[in-house]
Amino acid sequence: MLFNSIEFLVFLPIVFVLYWFVFQKHSWQNLLIVTASYVFYGWWDWRFLFLIAFTSLCSFYSGVLMERFEGSKRRQRMVCTVNIVVNFLILGVFKYYNFFADSLAQLIWSLFHYQLDWVTLNVVLPVGISFYTFQALSYTIDVYRKDVPVTRNVVEFFAFISFFPQLVAGPIERAKNLLPQFQRDRHFEYVQAVDGCRQMLWGFFKKVVIADSCASDLNPLWDSYADFSGISLWGLALLFTFQIYCDFSGYSDIAIGCSRLFGIRLLSNFNYPYLSRSIPEFWRRWHISLMTWFRDYVYIPLGGSRCAQWKAIRNTFIVFGVSGLWHGANWTFVCWGLYHGCLIVLYKLLHINTKDKEILAAGRWLPSVKDTCRVVVTFLLAVVGWVIFRAENIAQAWDFVSRMFLTAFDDFHFRLGSLTTMVVMLLLIVVEYLQRDKVHVLQFSNQGLFRWAAVRWTVYLTLFGAIFYFSFNNVSQEFIYFQF
């Protein structure tokens, strides 16, 4: 079930009413969440439910077994390892088998001119498999590390893995944050619910108005990129830069806002990444839940940065290479990850300041010239990265990027329809900058123009009107991150 569908518009109020008015005890609410989440997920394809149920059961019983083997670290390690292997096997078969089989066959053909007759699998990639697999793995590892207590309530655990707002595209939750929330009574909080609705509204605006408009302009032109001049190619790259941000962060905003309606607080996933002053800062603000996952379960166990410099560089490349691969079974994603890995290593080697903790121009109206330049450079580096991410293959990525820099900067090719897209992109930049110290853009302070309810409501209704209009006038696109 898509968030931007009529079905969800009916589904959400029904679940909300049942949750607060019928199933008032938290154990019953958990059961409702599991049922609702399985309906939500099964809407795509009911067969996917077996897979998520199996993944959940494996991780649940691995926790139970580890508790039973208390005192035997070796046995606990074995259980943890078996669960990790099983989870990666499922992920590998459904997501990566064909990719690696084809890649190996191509390699052998190019080296020895020998055709390998692989059996490729004709399976559909289950929606959001990477997200819930990583969430299930984090629980097993945390239990093994004794960072979280074992849960013996299977409904609670299933609710944790399958919680419908964040099931298919994150944020990738940690047991430490989400599981305890399913173990205690939830209370309806007016402020949280209202702010959750605002966050959802903004998420829908980003997805339906900006991301889908960018996609409508970009998709017909992408394949014929070779006909365009350098400046037009930058224009195309810019469209995808905004599309992917609004698509993914829009989903996260809807997920987080929706969860707040049920008294559940999810982790933040985006924090104005395009206002970053360096690539390391960009990665502290982009897909935060995934990057902290890799930091805690891959980077730090490998030694992190507190080791020899070559090891720290190796660790960076491993993390970014793997995180690229997480996004999809294509070498372009690996290259995109390694490209960012290279940039981060360069920042480190050149001793460029990457320790910015506060948001850009905190407490001031405008950033300094130096910070502005840093933001622009970081943004342009990210734009180049998104070309690699969007390309069909490495050759296309290389050709596109080369043309961006080497072909003439004349003849800016844009259709008139793109004007609306440019306006909404510009609007996004302005409002995100103005609201950069807030959790989301629609959190208004009680000062200035927005202290008047009429002004705030005008904004809400205008946004709703725009969402309504674009819903029926743009070709609706599936969320990009569903494929991951």
Binding site: F188, Y190, L461, F468
Partner: protein, 378 residues
């Protein structure tokens, strides 16, 4: 749930309800206007006789084909039927003898296959069928690019909620642009926004009336044939180039005539006119060979059937018509079609009982001429 929670959830519900109320008011007003305009009525609402001064012209839906079919089959059941594309829509009731019932199903057909489909679906056969055969129906490139055949064109159209959403957006956009007049919308007896706001639509006899084209020709897309000349230059949108008539389409036409003969329908077909200026430009390109040969290709087919005849009005330069009597490059006004009928009746006396006398035709022409309508400055 404790007292505080109950209070908070009620407060939330009230706030949400207020938001939804405002949203519903805006959407609801749009739906009300669309309903009042006749844009979102059930299909059966449209299939009924129109009053004498009433027009049917939907702004946001395209039901022309199925509307014309169901009106012909279920409501009018005419003895004289004008059948074809938009290029026969200007044939009016006034040129047909009042002893015969008449309906103009112009707009129902866009390729030769649809002729058979239409006639095959009729429960009652007309006595006479006046059919225009658009020249491009016999051009393979047009058929492949613009009009692939579908057997469901005359089925009752289905309405869905997605369309309703699109219509609401379009309605408010038109309201903001000033294209929709709310006063007219609630006071007019026409059906459809196009009919209400532009006085453009089908009349009770099925022929088309377009007030805007007559009073403001200079703002039309094809004023002085600008649009059609571009199409000729680019060879697209009906004006695809071609050297020979497609033999498959000729066979399909033969099947249609078989069908009509079996149902005892007299078929009088004609190749409809182009504005003289446009026809001259087409000839200059030397890329429309199929059009020059079309009459010769089709005539033997018609000669096989008794009572069926074919006339060629592709080039009407010799008829003394004016460019300014054409709505656009290939749609003549009613005076052009009166002239065509007059010519046909002169050549085939068996047609005379179906149409008004030549004196009456002259009177109709003089009424038109007295309006001093100039659709182009050429």
């Amino acid at each position: 749930m404790n007292k505080q929670e109950r209070y908070e959830i009620r407060r939330f519900g009230a706030r949400l309800a207020l938001f939804l109320l405002l949203v519903s008011a805006v959407i609801g007003f749009g739906v009300l206007c669309l309903y009042q305009a006749g844009e979102v009525r059930s299909y059966s609402y449209y299939i009924r006789p129109l009053k004498q001064d009433q027009l049917f012209g939907l702004g946001y839906s395209y039901y022309d084909k199925s509307y014309k079919f169901h009106m012909t089959d279920e409501v009018c059941r005419p003895q004289v039927l004008a059948l074809g594309s938009s290029r026969i829509m200007q044939v009016r009731r006034s040129v047909v003898n009042s002893d015969y019932s008449f309906y103009n199903a112009g707009g129902a057909i866009q390729n030769v296959q649809e002729l058979s489909l239409f006639v095959n679906g009729l429960h009652e056969s007309p006595q006479l069928m006046l059919v225009n055969l658009d020249q491009w129906w016999f051009n393979r490139t047009y058929i492949e690019q613009d009009q692939p055949f579908s057997s469901s064109v005359y089925d009752e159209p289905k309405f869905d909620y997605y369309k309703l959403g699109q219509f609401i957006c379009a309605f408010y956009t038109d309201l903001i642009k000033g294209k929709v007049n709310l006063w007219k919308l609630f006071s007019s007896n026409h059906i459809g926004l196009s009919a209400i706001c532009n006085e453009d639509g089908f009349m009770a006899d099925g022929s088309r009336y377009s007030h805007n084209m007559i009073i403001a020709p200079e703002i039309q897309e094809d004023y002085n044939f600008k649009n059609v000349l571009e199409r000729i230059r680019d060879g697209n949108a009906r004006f695809q180039y071609g050297d020979y008539a497609d033999s498959t389409q000729v066979c399909v036409l033969e099947n249609f005539l078989d069908q009509c003969a079996a149902r005892h329908i007299k078929v009088v077909a004609f190749l409809p006119p182009f504005a003289p200026f446009v026809y001259q430009k087409m000839q200059e390109t030397r890329k429309y060979g199929y059009m020059s040969r079309l009459y010769k290709n089709l005539l033997p087919v018609f000669e096989k059937y008794e009572g069926c005849s074919l006339y060629d009005f592709t080039d009407v330069t010799d008829m003394g018509v004016h460019n300014y009597d054409f709505y656009d490059g290939f749609h003549g006004s009613e005076i052009i079609y009166n002239g065509i009928i007059r010519q046909m009746v002169r050549q085939d006396s068996t047609l005379a009982p179906f149409f008004v006398s030549e004196q009456e035709m002259d009177r109709l022409d003089s009424v038109y001429i007295s309006k001093k309508i100039r659709l182009h400055s050429l």
